[in-house]
């Protein structure tokens, strides 16, 4: 049985096609100002990679902050619900899932079946999400993907007011003028963000195993800072940015089975 999951995020739309609980292909596109159009692009990419047609999809589920703009999907699932499903699919012992996207971060407590029990969310503040790293990378004049490796070279973190993107930008400029080292500034950025995420997760309680998903999970600098703050092992799946889409595809498979009964 072939199902499709679609995750309409603030920055990118991601899609995953599943066949009998195995991932067959992925697709993605920038959300831009037209999420529906981006969704079409992502789906087309995934279908062509899997050599499939629209009609082969038995059931499709949308998730993500713009899920109401999703074209031609059968139903929706909350982002927290999708995260929980994906986390336990990757790591059966996962009980705490942390998802950090471009503009939002959340932590989900789940059971062994991948059912969401509780969650906390950090919304509408860029300092706790990927947008923060992007802004600071721009201020530092460093490529986004170089921020993590750069920060790992630092022994300590520079002092910055990193609780707000706007203030953080001014601080970074001041530190550059003072000729502080870029690795130490980069590490300060990740430490500050990890601080925010850590206090968010502590509100929920930390139950191992802890899984980190979302685009920010690919950043080695952030991962190092978060490990230091939380003091626990953190598991990361192979394609952490597709976790939401995968969770939606898993939900699609379950709902299709339900319908067949």
């Amino acid at each position: 049985m072939i199902t499709l999951g679609l995750d309409l995020g603030t920055q990118r739309v991601k899609t995953v096609i599943l066949k009998d609980s195995a991932v067959v292909s992925r697709g993605q596109a920038f959300s831009g100002f037209d999420a529906a159009k981006a969704a079409e692009e992502a789906i087309t990419e995934a279908l062509s990679e899997a050599n499939l047609n629209r009609q082969d999809i038995v059931y499709s589920v949308a998730t993500g902050s713009s899920m109401e703009n999703a074209p031609q999907t059968d139903s929706n699932i909350s982002m927290m619900g999708a995260d929980a499903k994906a986390g336990v699919f990757f790591f059966p012992k996962a009980r705490t899932i942390i998802d950090i996207g471009a503009e939002e971060a959340r932590a989900i407590k789940c059971d062994e079946k991948g059912v969401m029990m509780d969650f906390v969310i950090n919304e509408r503040c860029a300092a706790g999400a990927g947008a923060f790293i992007e802004s600071m990378a721009r201020a530092l004049e460093v490529k986004l993907e170089d921020m993590g490796p750069l920060s790992l070279k630092a022994e300590r973190a520079s002092p910055i007011n990193a609780s707000c993107v706007i203030f953080g930008e001014s601080d970074v400029v001041t530190l550059i003028h003072r000729q502080e080292s870029k690795p130490e500034i980069a590490r300060a950025v990740f430490d500050a963000m990890a601080d925010r995420i850590s206090s968010m997760v502590h509100r929920l309680g930390i139950n191992p195993d802890v899984v980190l998903i979302g685009g920010v999970a690919k950043d080695v600098g952030f991962l190092a800072s978060l490990k230091r703050k939380l003091g626990v092992e953190i598991l990361i799946p192979e394609f952490p940015d597709y976790a939401g889409a995968l969770g939606a595809a898993l939900a699609a498979a379950a709902r299709a089975k339900e319908a067949q009964k």
């Binding site: 100002f33 509408r124 503040c125 860029a126 609780s163 993107v165 706007i166 203030f167």
Partner: protein, 303 residues
């Protein structure tokens, strides 16, 4: 034409007026108690000189990356043209975000106490609630008839609603910051406020709205409204008691002030005509600091 457009791109829309003022008809002699207050904020540095506890002169400048230099620059502006020297000052109090870095200060006092005191001086003993909108934080302060702080709340570590946040918007819209408030009022009806309060996200949202065809006025109205609601919430949490006044740089933003009045359903005490003869509410903290300076000097003389 290409050249002129690039000049416009380089204009600093966030930049506000740096100036100094001496109150006409006031004089000093060596027998007077001359005190100074220096308020080094995160964005602006203000210094005020008082003669026997009466405002005499002040200066306003932008805070640079070096706090002691900014303090000296503000004080230099306040002293400019007065004939006074730093050595003539009997007592100097530092306040604000950079108060521990005011080299000429005899003592540092928090800006919360200084703003309450300064607001009491500017508007008189009927003031009970002071909203200080600074460059980096917003404070709602309750005070008694003497200008003493009763309680306060502050929203810090977030640029939304602060002067710095407004500067970011001035740059984005390419509208001088001193005109932004009036321009935000040029709408036929109030649009829905922007949904998010984070300045970084509000910027993205504003760009989206402009692309959708919203006018700059309408986008500014939506943003200003959202910020006013944020400030009004802080005031409500500390408990609004009349009279209400607004200090700090954003007290000059008519778009913010008028919307706070609408949201709260009360009028603020009228803004002094600071461009001509009135006292500048942005300097309230420095006035308060200079008043504390006088009290501290007199106490020291008695012992």
């Amino acid at each position: 034409m290409k050249e002129s457009s690039s000049v416009i791109d380089e204009l600093e829309f966030w930049r506000w007026r740096e100036y100094n003022r001496i109150i006409e008809g006031k004089h000093w002699t060596n027998k007077d108690i001359i005190t100074a207050g220096v308020d080094v904020g995160s964005v602006g540095s203000k210094a005020a000189i008082m003669v026997n506890g009466e405002a005499y002169s002040w200066g306003v400048t932008r805070t640079g990356s070096n706090s002691p230099e900014s303090a000296s620059k503000a004080l230099g502006l306040a002293l400019l043209g007065t004939g006074l020297k730093v050595s003539d000052l009997k007592y100097t109090v530092g306040t604000g975000y950079g108060r521990v870095n005011v080299p000429m200060a005899n003592k540092a006092i928090t800006e919360i106490a200084c703003h309450a005191k300064g607001a009491n001086y500017i508007w008189g003993p009927s003031v009970r609630t002071v909203l200080d909108v600074g460059g980096q934080d917003i404070k709602a302060i309750r005070s008694d008839e003497t200008g003493r702080v009763v309680s306060f709340l502050m929203n810090d570590k977030c640029a939304a609603g602060t002067g710095r946040g407004m500067e970011v918007f001035a740059d984005l819209m390419k509208i001088p910051i001193e005109e932004i408030g009036a321009i935000s009022l040029k709408v036929d009806e109030e649009p829905p406020p922007v949904s998010c309060t984070c300045v970084a996200f509000a910027k993205t949202e504003a760009i989206g709205l402009l692309r959708k065809g919203w006018s700059k006025e309408k986008v500014l109205a939506a943003y200003t409204r959202a910020m006013a609601v944020r400030m009004a919430n802080l005031i409500n949490r500390v408990g609004l008691e009349k009279e209400l006044v607004i200090t700090g740089g954003q007290s000059k933003n008519i778009g913010i002030v008028s919307r706070i009045e609408v949201v709260l359903g009360v009028k603020c005490l009228p803004m002094p005509n600071w461009r001509e003869k009135g006292l500048d509410p942005m300097v309230a903290g420095a006035f308060g600091a200079a008043l504390f300076g006088k009290a501290l000097y007199e106490k020291a003389q008695k012992t």
